[in-house]
C-alpha cells in the first residue's frame, strides 16, 4: 500500500477536525475535534514510521496518545466545573478568565 494514501487521508482527517473546531461552539464537541486532529497526526506518524522502517514514529504516536489523554482529562474537568457553576456551555460566552 502506497504511503501517499495514508498521508492524504491524514490530511483530510486533520482538515475535518479543524473544520469542526471552527464550526461548533460547544466545548465538548471542540474537545472531540481536537481528538480528531491529534489522531490524524498519529496516522501520519505511523505511516511515516512504516515507510522509513523503524519503530520510533510509533513511540512518538504512543506519546501523542498520552498527551491527548491528559488534554481530555483536564478539558473534561473544566467542563464539569463550568457545568456545576451553572455557566453556559458555549465558548462564545466563556471568553473571560475571571474566577
Amino acid at each position: 500500500m502506497n504511503t501517499n494514501w495514508f498521508v492524504v487521508l491524514s490530511a483530510l482527517l486533520f482538515s475535518t477536525g479543524a473544520l469542526g473546531i471552527l464550526l461548533r461552539r460547544s466545548p465538548m464537541v471542540i474537545l472531540l475535534c481536537l481528538e480528531l486532529m491529534l489522531n490524524a497526526g498519529n496516522l501520519a506518524l505511523v505511516a511515516f514510521s512504516r515507510m522509513v522502517g523503524n519503530g520510533q514514529g510509533q513511540v512518538f504516536a504512543v506519546i501523542v496518545m498520552v498527551i491527548a489523554a491528559c488534554e481530555v482529562v483536564v478539558g473534561l474537568g473544566l467542563i464539569v466545573a463550568i457545568f456545576r457553576r451553572r455557566l453556559p456551555l458555549d465558548v462564545d460566552d466563556l471568553r473571560e478568565l475571571r474566577g
Binding site: G20, L43, L76, V80
Partner: protein
C-alpha cells in the same frame, strides 16, 4: 485485499469524523468518534503497527470514551453559529486541506510514492515498542507519566465540589459565582 481494507477503514474514519462535527447531540458525536477510532485502529494494523492499534482501542475507545460518555450524560449542545461562521468555516477548512495536499504531494515529499521499507516480522509489536520506550526513549516515557499524574490531580482539583474549604452546593449560588460569564451585548 489490502486496498479494499484501506478504503473500507478510510470511509469509516472519514464518516466518523464527519459524524462528530455534524451531530447535534454530543452523545452521538462521541459514538461517531468511537467509529472513527476503530477504523483508525484498522488502519494502524494495515501499517503493521499492532501495539499502537491495540493501545488505540484499549486507551481511546475504551477508557477515554467512557470518560466522555460520563460527562456528556447531563450536558446540552449549543448549535448557533455566529453570523457568517457557517460559510467561513467550511471555506477555511477546505483551504487548509488544499494547503496540506499541496504540501504532501509537491516536490519535497516525492519520495512518498513508494511502498516503504521492507520490515521484519517483529516490526511494531509490543516487544519492539517496549524496548524502544525503555531504552532509547526512557526520559520522554517518564516525563509523560509525570504529566499524566499532574493532569489527573489537576482534573480532581478542577472538578471537585469544595471551594475555599467549604462545601459548595449547586442549589444555593454564592453571589460572586456568576462573575466569570461575560454576557455578550
Amino acid at each position: 485485499m489490502e486496498e479494499v481494507l484501506f478504503f473500507l477503514s478510510a470511509i469509516g474514519a472519514l464518516g466518523g469524523a464527519f459524524g462528530v462535527i455534524a451531530m447535534r447531540n454530543p452523545f452521538y458525536s462521541v459514538l461517531a468518534l468511537i467509529v472513527h477510532l476503530f477504523s483508525l485502529a484498522a488502519l494502524f494494523l494495515l501499517l503493521t503497527s499492532a501495539f499502537v492499534a491495540a493501545a488505540q482501542v484499549v486507551v481511546y475507545a475504551g477508557a477515554v470514551m467512557v470518560l466522555y460518555v460520563f460527562v456528556v450524560g447531563g450536558g446540552e449542545s449549543a448549535w448557533e453559529p455566529i453570523p457568517g461562521q457557517r460559510f467561513l468555516a467550511p471555506l477555511l477548512g477546505i483551504a487548509l486541506f488544499v494547503e496540506l495536499s499541496v504540501a504532501v504531494l509537491s516536490s519535497s515529499l516525492l519520495a512518498l510514492g513508494e511502498d516503504g521499507a521492507d520490515v521484519k516480522a517483529g516490526f511494531g509489536n509490543p516487544a519492539a515498542i517496549g524496548r524502544l520506550l525503555l531504552e532509547k526513549f526512557l526520559v520522554p516515557f517518564e516525563a509523560s507519566s509525570i504529566l499524566l499524574l499532574l493532569a489527573a490531580v489537576g482534573a480532581i482539583v478542577l472538578a471537585s465540589n469544595r471551594r475555599h474549604g467549604e462545601r459548595d452546593t449547586p442549589d444555593e449560588p454564592s453571589p460572586n459565582r456568576k462573575e466569570g460569564v461575560s454576557l455578550s451585548p
